[in-house]
């Protein structure tokens, strides 16, 4: 059973993020007041409510947790399995993603990963992560 493929909404508060994804750059917000990084994009800093700017980050991170999903709801994941993970960027923020480019069973908590981008539609690309090339 499959549902329609969910495509992210490009909301106004996140345009530089989505534009960055299309360019192959991971753009994350940093507070110009307290310096905290945050993801997902908002109009203000969630720590101090100060103004935020978008900055390109390294795209490197660490797997904080993961699950191997065996029952895809949408066509993009074929028959599965596929990895849904939470990755902590080196700059701090945590985001949900897929870990690709390696067997699902090889992914582990603490694994170092690096960003890649998957094109979903003409207007939308999303960050996914894979093993750091050795």
């Amino acid at each position: 059973m499959t549902s329609p493929e969910p495509v992210p909404l490009r909301t106004l508060d996140a345009q530089p993020y989505w534009d960055g994804c299309l360019r192959g750059e991971l753009m994350v917000q940093r507070c110009t007041g307290c310096g905290a990084y945050q993801f997902y994009p908002r109009v203000r800093c969630v720590t101090c409510a100060g103004p935020v700017e978008f900055v390109a980050v390294s795209g490197k991170g660490t797997v904080h947790s993961l699950t191997v999903c065996h029952r895809p709801l949408t066509p993009r994941f074929g028959d599965g399995p596929y990895v849904v993970a939470l990755v902590d960027l080196d700059e701090g923020p945590r985001l949900m993603t897929n870990i690709v480019g390696c067997p699902p069973e090889s992914v582990y908590i603490g694994m170092k990963v690096t960003v890649a981008f998957q094109r979903l539609t003409e207007d939308v690309s999303m960050p996914v992560f894979g093993p750091v090339p050795s």
Binding site: L9, Y40, V68, C69, H70, L73, T74, V84, L86, L95
Partner: protein, 383 residues
Amino acid sequence: MADRTAAISGVGEASLRTIPGKSALQFAAEAALAALDDAGLSKDDIDGLVTAYSVGDPYNFFATVLAEYLGIKPRFLAQINVGGSVGNLLVSHASAAVADGRASRVLCVWADNRRSAMGGNATVSRVADLAAHPSYELPYGPLVPSLYALVANRYLHEYKAGPEALADVAVAARAHAAKHPNAIKQKPITRDDVFASPMVSSPLHALDCCLISDYGAAAIVTAADRAADHAQEPVWVLGTGEGTTHEFISQAPSLTSFGARASGQTAFAQAGLTPADIDVAYLYDCFTITVLVLLEELGFCGPGEAAAMVGEGVISPGGRLPVNTHGGLLSYSNGGFLHVIEAVRQLRGQAGARQVGAAETALVHLQGGVLSTHSTLILGRQR
């Protein structure tokens, strides 16, 4: 001066059978009428109504529609939609309305026909749409079990526990359900049965996941000065609490500590009780991992100690702290408000083969989202 202390004076539930075409309103009405019968009241005695929401029949104004459907004209009316923690909030909001005189007898209802209306697969998809962020999570394909599996894997990693800890929760739930004649799943299971059930999203197997079912549950919250003329002994609302740290799991500050901690602390302080004073507990068990997390968060054991506690049979029938004596969401039925119904029955001594001695105190903890919203309710036979 009138005694406005809140008590639960009636409880009821709808038949758990799935019947195509049966609306959430019908489930709600069945439960409400059963609660009125239980309390010895008629619908015209009710002057307040608080409801949750339905995924299967998504009326924007479920509470108003239900009032109309039942022919009730409440002077206090509210609808709460914060996910699975709503059941306790129905009672706490009703208690507040009773305490400040906005109403004297408040009907609280939570019903859904998600199974009849959509079937299992569509329900899984629809609920994932609700639980994952539409832009930053959902496109990565998480099922609702995946969102909780992220918590489960982190828990097992941090506390060096094996998947047996999760399986033991499912086994305990089924052992309780085996004593309830209305439970949807009554056949006892073992750890091996859990491990042999299909893997849904690691480490969660199918038997780590709650039932997808229709349900209807209702309770009547009454001011003490009105409870005396009801058919049942009142069950007193001793303490309530809430806590929220996030909505979407990628935004949770921690994957092992949540708003449950603050919620429990608030409720215990209000009740003047500690975890050691609780005779029986009802913990929201949409997936086995939540029971482990909640035992720790509510102070029934320390961080990382729940696996051993469950392994020793503490939460099983006959254990020191039986949890979910009806079988919970894992084996009795979906519908978190059924936890409250069963707690009331235990405190009245009406739980039949699953009665926990002379239980004096019960704790109900419900959560919604992905361990996002939390509510705690402490109930007692004595004020």
